[in-house]
Symmetry: C2
Subunit: 343 residues, 2 copies
């Protein structure tokens, strides 16, 4: 594994040098669409009928809450560029408390990885996981657990942008020295946050599996909480998920199913400021231990700790950091090197 | 008004005849982006700290629910075609219990009005109203009212697809004779439904006004509940909203501000099966009464009752019906006729 990683590090340095002069390929989208996958019907009974005025001035409507609800479906939007450089589509799966918007833009209004992959010739699917964004969510009668709401103070340190909590007083805000997160747009990032449940993992894996069955073979790129969804769905559909890119995975595959990934190369990318964080050293170690099982079973895993190859300052939200395109380029170069796309 | 409407009806017949032979223009998108507008910070205090495991296997995180929350922001996605045929963008605002997905696809997987307007040379903005989809929603500590959840049975008659309730037994389902709603995909439509509050109108109008301030002058096209948002925002920003298309508006403008719309031409479109509905005759009458005030104040209003011009079978969700492109073409032709776009 060391030799493999070492070769890869040299490759990365080459890639970094070469992209400094690369031009941004044109965006030229010839197909846009969306759909929902999955979901199940749940019946609710014995509740009283309600009269609801949905818009002021309109007649009240009688709403009978008894009946069937469709829940746990998942929203997916896709974009096809005019010139494809990969026979496979790439699926971008976001992390917890967020939606597909993660990949669409940055807090300072630059393009995200969605546009990068479209520009680089990938048919690109961006989804909102079950319960989030355009996927909708179910009533307390159906999901017994409470949703979690994030304060704007919390992600500042949890996503390794800076130490302590965010403050609306700039003088009290401590960003890590050299941080590449565009902190001037921090509240734009917070506008993307949506409530989250902690008990919908099985439903989410089911919906992602349905998505993979519908549109793959493919490459799956995931972030954070999506680490679990990506690895477990790839383990369930190893013939469909041809490559797996894990960006700071905070959830994991099934160690007992390690062999199922032996033909699915995995790339893992970690940012900066991990050693000074209370949670991230352990989260990374869990994945590194799992990697050993993947490799023992004949699999291929490349790990990039960005600071080790000279790329410093990345937060947990590296797809939004100032050098987001540099990291996307590393990923694309890896996919080209693995034979999944043309340069 | 009668003369104006009569001229318009003749025009429509001409348009219907001419589009039968029209080719679909190519989709050629050179810019895709998204952003959130608006939102406000709300402080919550005196709640206990919670330990939450966000992903199975990851270390628990201490979540302090006390602090500031950013709520009532609104998500917007936009697409720029290579060749613009209008100097103005068009903003597509959906109805209650739904998101921008309303305009992205149909229950049977055809393209929606989003793609139609892009193909016809409009920079197109599709948003998720406050509380819905990618806009996120606030905790019960911040919004005191309960969200409403729709059963899959309910919209069948409320959206004038058929009589009675939807049943999962096809033999018990009664679709209106001649209905153009693609009922075979009814559950796909239900997958788009999201919970809704009935007390967020002011916040929604505020966010839409911020959107208009950011990206207009423009044309605003709204559906159903959006009737209120479109008319009230246009009344607040008559210099920015240059034309208003109301598709079965179920919410209304301020009658006392009728004069503010005197320079904003309005097009209103109604589908079929209204007379046999318990609510729609009244909802339409409220708008017709308001139209009189608009016209008395010097404004211009064109009303199309589709069955009166020979287009029968449309539900409340005409942007998803089998003839959705025919209706989009009527709208585009009206905008061309009013001078807002090239043919």
């Amino acid at each position: 594994m060391f030799k493999q990683l070492s070769r890869f590090v040299s490759y990365c340095f080459f890639a970094i040098t070469s992209i400094a002069h690369a031009q941004t390929p044109a965006l030229n989208v010839v197909e846009i669409g969306s759909f929902h996958v999955g979901g199940r019907l749940v019946e609710i009974s014995n509740k009283p009928v309600k009269s609801v005025v949905f818009s002021p001035g309109s007649a009240p409507a009688l709403i009978d809450p008894n009946g069937k609800y469709l829940v746990e479906q998942m929203y997916v939007q896709y974009f096809t560029p005019q010139i494809l450089k990969s026979k496979l589509p790439i699926l971008l799966w976001h992390g917890g408390g967020l939606t597909g918007v993660t990949y669409e833009t940055t807090p300072d209004g630059r393009e995200g990885w969605q546009q990068f992959f479209i520009r680089n010739g990938w048919k690109t699917y961006v989804s909102d996981a079950v319960e989030r964004g355009r996927s909708g969510w179910a009533s307390p009668d159906i999901w017994p657990s409470e949703p979690q709401f994030l304060t704007v103070e919390n992600p500042w340190s949890r996503f390794r942008i800076g130490s302590g909590a965010w403050s609306d007083d700039p003088a009290k805000r401590v960003q890590f020295q050299g941080s590449l997160f565009p902190a001037e747009g921090y509240l734009n990032f917070m506008r993307q946050i949506v409530p989250r449940w902690t008990t919908t993992d099985a439903a989410t894996i089911k919906a992602y599996t349905e998505l993979v069955d519908k549109v793959c073979p493919c490459v799956v790129l995931v972030h954070s909480q999506g680490g679990m969804f990506g690895q477990r769905v790839a383990q369930a559909r190893p013939d469909k998920v041809k490559a797996l890119v894990l960006v700071e995975p905070a959830g994991f595959g099934d160690p007992d199913q390690a062999a199922s990934l032996k033909n699915t190369p995995v790339l893992e990318i970690y940012g900066d400021f991990i050693d000074q964080d209370s949670r991230w050293p352990n989260i990374r170690k869990t994945q590194m231990d799992l990697n050993k099982k993947y490799i023992e079973a004949g699999g291929s895993v490349d790990v990039i700790n960005l600071p080790e190859i000279g790329i410093k300052g990345n937060s947990h939200m590296m797809m939004m950091d100032r050098n987001n395109m540099q990291i996307a380029q590393l990923i694309n170069d890896w996919l080209v090197r693995k034979g999944f796309a043309e340069k």
